[in-house]
Assembly symmetry: C2
Homo-oligomer: 328 residues x 2
């Protein structure tokens, strides 16, 4: 019997989850829920209904895990506590600073409902968080480093789009290769924000806009750009469409540390991702945590869980014996 999945929210992430389910034969898409008019939403999977988000509750006995594909700013803080009373759920809540309060809210409703909720699944938070903790376990005396990119930052692209005279924009975060190499050498350097990443912006300006002013506004924007070396390229709408429609991303988590009675031996652990599609990779991870949520709940567990609380064996379809035999 396959694990019955519902998707709530059908944007990039929801579509990514739908694609990922196709690669996981022990799971089955039962319904997509949307806040839009269902008849306007066309999905890829034949024969699966698109329903109003408000009707999800009625299907609580037909869905094993509801995957929440909304945004972290306003959707998930409301949705995850709400739906976790009826369903095992997974979200990809990624506002790092607000994870503790999100956890508390979800834990309460999930425990009341006797369900398992997994929050903050994805790659950062998610796989990168796991890489940090395993590395800390292996090297208690050391230093963690995280580099992002090369990849599109949606938040930074949006910040540029809000400027006067800007029609469209895409921002790439790029790790500084020399800083990466220094960390890889095991030196555990102290690195400033500017030393770790550069930012490259591609901007379509409106006709007659003051490009020098836009460039200056980008480069001096606090929080987003002022602490970085930033390059701005003005391009045409056609170039934007031709060269910048994909959402690649990736990054590096490293830890350098010492062992030995007198700390005489150095070690470097590195985990890295090179992704053609940020939302599809994130979705694919979320789907594996849906399997974990289902299994943990079937064992009688309930409450809110993060990637730190979930053993790797729960994530894949293979049995524990098969994993030991083939991958240990």
């Amino acid at each position: 019997m396959s694990i019955r999945i519902g998707i709530l929210g059908y944007g990039n992430l929801g579509r990514g989850v739908e694609c990922a389910l196709k690669q996981n034969p022990d799971m089955e898409l039962k319904a997509v829920f949307t806040r839009r008019a269902p008849e306007t939403v066309e999905i890829l999977t034949k024969g699966v209904p698109v329903l109003l988000a408000d009707e999800a509750e009625k299907m609580k006995d037909e869905i094993d895990v509801l995957i929440l594909c909304g945004g972290s700013a306003t959707d998930l803080p409301a949705q995850t506590p709400k739906y976790s009373q009826w369903f095992n759920v997974v979200d990809s809540f990624d506002t790092h600073a607000k994870i503790p309060e999100h956890f508390e809210a979800v834990d309460e409703t999930a425990k009341k409902g006797g369900k398992v909720s997994v929050i903050s699944a994805g790659w950062d938070p998610g796989m990168f968080s796991i890489a940090r903790v395993y590395a800390m376990a292996a090297l208690p005396e050391g230093e963690n480093y995280t580099f992002w990119g090369k990849g599109v930052s949606q938040g930074h692209s949006d910040a540029i789009r809000r400027l006067e005279g800007v029609k469209d924009a895409r921002q790439y975060t790029i790790p500084v290769e020399s800083a990466l190499e220094e960390v890889r050498s095991g030196k555990n350097p102290e690195l400033t924000t500017r030393q770790k990443h550069t930012r490259e912006c591609f901007v379509v300006a409106e006709e007659g806009a003051d490009k020098a002013k836009i460039e200056n506004e980008i480069k001096t924007m606090p929080n987003y750009f002022s602490d970085y070396d930033t390059t701005v390229h003005f391009i045409t709408e056609e170039e934007m469409k031709r060269d910048h429609t994909r959402l690649p991303h990736g990054g590096f988590v490293l830890r350098g540390g010492k062992t030995g009675w007198n700390k005489e031996n150095g070690h470097v652990i590195e985990y890295s991702l090179k992704l053609d599609s940020n939302p599809e990779f994130t979705s694919s991870i979320i789907v594996s945590y849906a399997r974990a949520a289902y299994r943990m709940n079937a064992e009688g567990q309930s409450g809110c869980k993060t990637v730190f609380d979930i053993a790797p064996g729960y994530l894949v379809a293979e049995s524990a014996a098969e994993l030991r035999r083939k991958y240990l």
Copy 2:
């Protein structure tokens, strides 16, 4: 109250565990057990007794986790089932093909004793196994690759030492950079044994030995060398001591895979290690799994566990709330 640790077997690994304990203030070394005459074994930690292995059982109420630092060939298949009836234990059993039977034997005695046994902790099996499974979860349609090195292979060094006319030998396993690059490009190539690794041997010959014969015997040795491009260097005893006493190692686990409705997006996940000391890094990981064994047993769990069964949060001293706040 700290976690009370015993070490059984005081070679490279046992000494590494002792060093690692110094970096984990929530743990405390209570005793070292040896099969040698205890008075001949000098350890680094002041005030900790060295006792006969046969006396370990008597200390079962004073030790929370016994770390088994014997070899996989003959020590651990007997020791882990035996000691798991009295203690939570951790071993680094690394004979991949025999893991299933080792698991069964240990699971039985650990369950009877109501203890948790963690087998095959280290980096391969261990961190590399975990990297494979997380990568498979994220990319169900893809291919795993493991490269080892550059590092000393004890098994291959020993195989050379057994040849007539050889006084000492050290063998380095080296990943082929071009093969690594091909995998990193996301091409998921089919690679033969010869295409993945080369082997470099440093040999001290006995006086008057036939070097050409030794070199030929190495290069044609089945299983160990005949499937590889192998280089042999004859060096002096002094050079061996000067340049080849450390035990560096490392390696790479990669997975390339596709996502998307029509598999239109490619992704590459890479995990790598660069280690000055193979035994010390292994020991450090083992110690983190000792913490996990203790905690899982305190929760009422028993039986044999592998790295696949253990959530990352169990491995580090930080509380779950602290981990969520600082590392998620």
